[in-house]
């Protein structure tokens, strides 16, 4: 008897969402490659029915979704709306009288984030700017976009990142760019998974598992950032998911999603790059940036082999610092050492290059360095931070990884 025209109502929030920005010239059309065929595709179908004002069908789908995900709170909210719409006109998403405003706001944010995430899949011709070079043994890389509450999984296809899946995530209650212990923010930067903690070793709060990452990294420490215990982890059993901004800094996934993701994570190896908002590059531009950096790194290597210390040192920023050693001391030491060399051979194997999503133009380079010379040889895993200064890439930090 009562027919409510509220198609579009829930979606007004989503409609205005801009398409994913793709830097560079060739913004390819968004390819519909859905890997998460579970909850979000169902949610999208529910919304599609609502848009067509087929509320009965929408309710049917919502109920089916809830049978599959009984603790999906947003689903219950939508169900409530669809039922209430049969009784009286409704004005917004979430019409519960006397509902705590913050919880309602949380669910609304989740709705927007999930729908945006579902509708705006990355273009097949765009890659996150950060994944410039994955090392051969890194099978996958994780890129997080805190603003859109999304985690993207990329497969290493001979160094080129190939989109595999994306998931809804929650991050810090107070946002991103962590600086201090207890600031309830999620760090932004280039990290990697350091361990895998199984469910059995954790409380219910962490859900089906946890993967700590190496925050604070070398750059964070150098910037004076502190805090610890930033993990990717699951969700407590009383809810399917948490609001977009919910954690004390961790990146939180639904348990089903964490389980799917976990299969692809290699402790000690898999990069986790957390951004405020992913910058997408067309493949052409990505290729250019990657080539420029590859060349800078190789120039540095060959200049080292040339034993021309000044030539070698021009790759280093005046602000270079490694431990307590600044540029001047480093330069003095290099001149001294190089004086005794008759030959130097440097190899960089298993090279990875990841651009930092933070404000500085910063790139994290990691490789196995095989150094040989007439009087000394050594192998080490090295990490360098390169920064763009006056139009060229310079090393601002290096050390053992």
């Amino acid at each position: 008897m009562r027919r409510i025209a509220f198609g579009g109502l829930l979606l007004t929030v989503v409609a205005a969402a801009p398409a994913l920005p793709v830097l560079g010239r060739s913004a390819a059309p968004v390819a519909a490659t859905y890997s998460d065929a579970g909850l979000e595709s169902q949610l999208a179908r529910v919304y599609a029915e609502i848009e067509k004002n087929r509320l009965d069908k929408a309710l049917e789908l919502t109920e089916a979704m809830l049978r599959q995900y009984p603790n999906f709170r947003l689903g219950h909210l939508i169900k409530g709306d669809l039922l209430l719409a049969r009784a009286r006109p409704i004005a917004t998403l979430g019409n519960a009288a006397n509902a705590p405003a913050d919880r309602l706001a949380d669910l609304r944010e989740e709705a927007v984030a999930r729908l945006k995430g579902y509708r705006q899949k990355p273009s097949s011709n765009a890659v996150p700017r950060y994944l410039l070079q994955m090392q051969p043994d890194q099978k996958y890389a994780v890129v997080v976009d805190t603003q859109t509450a999304r985690l993207y999984l990329y497969q290493n296809d001979q160094g080129r990142p190939r989109f595999v899946a994306d998931y809804y995530i929650s991050h810090g209650k107070l946002g991103a760019e962590k600086r201090r212990e207890g600031d309830k923010k999620t760090p932004v930067g280039v990290y990697h998974v350091t361990a895998s903690l199984p469910r059995q070793k954790l409380t219910d709060f962490y859900g089906s598992g946890a993967f700590p990452i190496n925050y604070p990294n070398e750059w964070d420490k150098r910037q004076g950032r502190n805090g610890h215990g930033i993990w990717l982890h699951g969700t407590p059993s009383d809810t399917f998911s948490r609001p977009p901004k919910a954690s004390d800094g961790c990146v939180v996934l639904a348990n089903t999603d964490l389980d799917a993701l976990a299969k692809n994570l290699q402790p000690g190896l898999t990069p986790v790059i957390i951004s405020n908002e992913i910058e997408w590059l067309s493949l052409d531009d990505w290729q250019k940036e990657r080539a420029a950096l590859g060349k800078a790194i190789d120039d540095w290597r060959s200049d080292w082999e040339s034993r021309d210390t000044e030539r070698f040192l021009r790759h280093y920023s005046p602000k270079f610092k490694a431990g307590k050693q600044g540029f001047d001391e480093f330069a003095r030491q290099k001149r001294q050492v190089n004086a005794g060399k008759e030959w130097i051979k440097v190899k960089t194997d298993n090279l990875s290059v990841f651009r930092d999503p933070g404000k500085d133009e910063l790139v994290v380079v990691t490789f196995e360095q095989d150094y040989r010379s007439n009087n000394l040889s050594n192998q080490m895993k090295k990490r360098q931070y390169w920064i763009r200064e006056d139009g060229s890439w310079k090393i601002i930090y290096e050390g053992a990884a």
Partner: protein, 368 residues
Amino acid sequence: MSTSLPTRFQTSRLTAVFVALALVLSSPVARADNLAEIQKLMKSGQYPQALEKTDAYIAGKPRDAQGRFMKGLILTEMNRPADAIAVFTKLTEDYPELPEPYNNLAVLYAQQKQYEKARTALEMAIRTHPAYAIAYENLGDVYAKLASQAYDKALQLDSSNAAAQGKLSLIRDLVSTNTRPGGKPATPVAAAKPAEPAAKPAAEPARPAAVEAPKPAATVVPVAPPAVAATKPAEPAKVAEAPKPAEKPATKTGDADAEAEAAAAVQNWAAAWSKKDVRAYLGHYAADFQTPNGMPRKAWETERQQRINKPGKILVSVDDLKVTIEGNKATVKFRQTYKSASLNSSTGKTLVLVRVGGKWLIQQERVG
């Protein structure tokens, strides 16, 4: 949209349903006598006696739907919901084409907070009888209740939570305030008087896609609806037709004019609403109008103004008017059909009007 919430499960509904069924299945006089007597016992609150008589009656006619239906009603009145549910359930099995047992089953389930079951029963009632307005309204209430449960899950509220409690008790109020007023049937089963001078139903093009299948309404005399002469669900008409003595002797002569005036006032009120003439619309309300939830008059007027002035057409029509005059007061019960861009509804409504300086003005407005 009316400011009040939709009506709830009412004794009057159960009664109305009872009468309707009596008509549908009416048969020989002796049977009618028996049933009339049972009904009389019920009306005076003598449920055990009524039950006894009904049982005796059913013993002779085990398949008799009317008798069994009445038994269900009596058991409901006697606060034996489980037994009443059993009776109505069996009726739905034996007479799946009758919507009334489903409806009453739903009311009982809803009273037990089994809203999913109530929903199923009501949806069955509507499937068997697509124009069954009471079931639609009850279903609206059940949906609202289910919605509230879903919100509780979404927002992690539970009954011990103060906010949730407020919300739930609001709904509980609406449900429970409608439980029987004393033993008296709530609807004065007034003898049907042909309503007003029956200006010819304006031969307007029917509303597009009226959801109900048009049913021949027994004695409905559409009272010159300003815009729409809609065919209405038959139920209320049947009630009006009930072969029952009115509680009060039918209209005193002299009240006839007053009735006509009061009915005309209601029609004009609906017309002003449809025309979105807020001034005229508000002009129909008495100075001592009881605003919903006692909100300040000014705030209420502003709210009405905003709602009425929303973009888009509004069509409000009233029919099945039943006017009861008592001195300077008139109680007008009718069906209100409301149609706007966002909502179609058909609800029972009661306006209490008071005569002020020769004009009938609205003092109370209730759904139901």
